[in-house]
Symmetry: C2
């Protein structure tokens, strides 16, 4: 069985767990407080980032891009990058938007200032960074609404890697109550669909000491 080294509030770990559930691939979770840069963990992944996958025979897969493309290539189950070459490019374009742009402009700030600082009890949150994240999320919610307006999902009429990438980022922010859901109804409807998928359920049940999600967090009809 695959070993997945993760943190419950790492967006890329959440994305991977949801995707493994969608693909019905079994795995066992090993929690890792990645910001501590534990020596044994750095040996597995010198970048120090979660998630890391250990396969039978101790072969290691690291990196969001590498792990997810590996699963697409090797698993016989459900594909999350599908369709014509153009549609596949669109799925990857939107995936990259959330993995990199959204992460850099929104999740990174909240993860560092509100989550890691609380969990490691080091330093006070930087309110300017949090304000920037809260401002930036607005146009990303509008972009989700825009992408869903034509089709039902972010890159087509069925869920793809792009939806799981986006929903994983947003779920981390929702855990700390930082998604202004009244801002865009279409984005909210899309997230409600994502949240009600069985693959998402274990994510919504994550417990993290010193942090309590708001009451709507687990509820698909929020």
């Amino acid at each position: 069985m695959l070993e997945v080294h993760h943190h419950p509030l790492c967006p890329f770990s959440r994305k991977l767990r949801i995707i493994l559930n969608e693909k019905k691939i079994e795995f066992e979770l090993f929690p890792e407080a990645f910001w501590l840069r534990r020596r044994e963990f750095l040996k597995m992944n010198p970048s120090g980032e979660t998630p890391v996958v250990v396969k039978t025979g101790n072969k290691i897969l690291a990196g969001n891009y590498a792990i997810n493309e590996y699963l697409e290539e090797t698993a016989d189950s459900l594909k999350l990058i599908f369709g014509s070459s153009e549609q596949r490019a669109e799925i990857r374009r939107v995936t990259e938007w959330f993995d990199i742009k959204f992460f850099n402009e929104v999740t990174r700030y909240i993860l560092h200032e509100k989550i890691i600082k609380t969990l490691s009890r080091v330093g006070a949150p930087n309110s300017e960074a949090i304000r920037a994240a809260k401002q930036n999320i607005l146009y990303h919610l509008d972009y989700i609404g825009y992408l869903c307006a034509e089709d039902r999902y972010l890159a087509g009429d069925q869920p793809s890697m792009a939806d799981f990438a986006a929903a994983a980022q947003i779920s981390v922010l929702d855990f700390v109550g930082d998604v202004p859901w009244s801002h865009n109804q279409k984005a909210r409807d899309w997230y409600s669909l994502m949240k009600s998928r069985p693959s998402f359920k274990p994510i919504l049940l994550d417990k993290v000491s010193h942090l309590n999600p708001p009451s709507h967090y687990q509820n698909p009809d929020f």
Copy 2:
């Protein structure tokens, strides 16, 4: 023929141009000062980032991840992600290291502070950001040296996507004289190999007004 909308000092544009040259795919270049966020360009790629590829029939490909995977999937020529599933994962892991980690820790600062501020004549460079980039590049050069020590290239014994991703980032820094080549001889030897490839030549001939590369920049034996 493909249209490539790029900036000569955008590392992802450089990576794409080198890869297209390696694959012997013809293209025409259209310069784009991406930081101006030109309306017509944002219509092609709402993220506002270069490069963007326009295919015949006006079909648009955007995003470093989407474009490069598209080329790997569709072009019959040379593959840059090759080998077993594990080797392919390693190529992608190292590619992501340079596309994201190196870019965020080094290139982003230099690009913004030294290049865009000079070209747009807006604001003075932030010396703290430049100092951080110059500090961060050292361990990345050591990592290149480490990866090349076993095999000759970053993810195996022949050049892969990982080498072109890394060399493209480094070439931007070298243009403004910010690569401390004396720090790691193995990294220098590797870059010398990359620089002497025919695919790299047009990159080394790029001219950018108000910025003059150091004398060693075009010389493969530097």
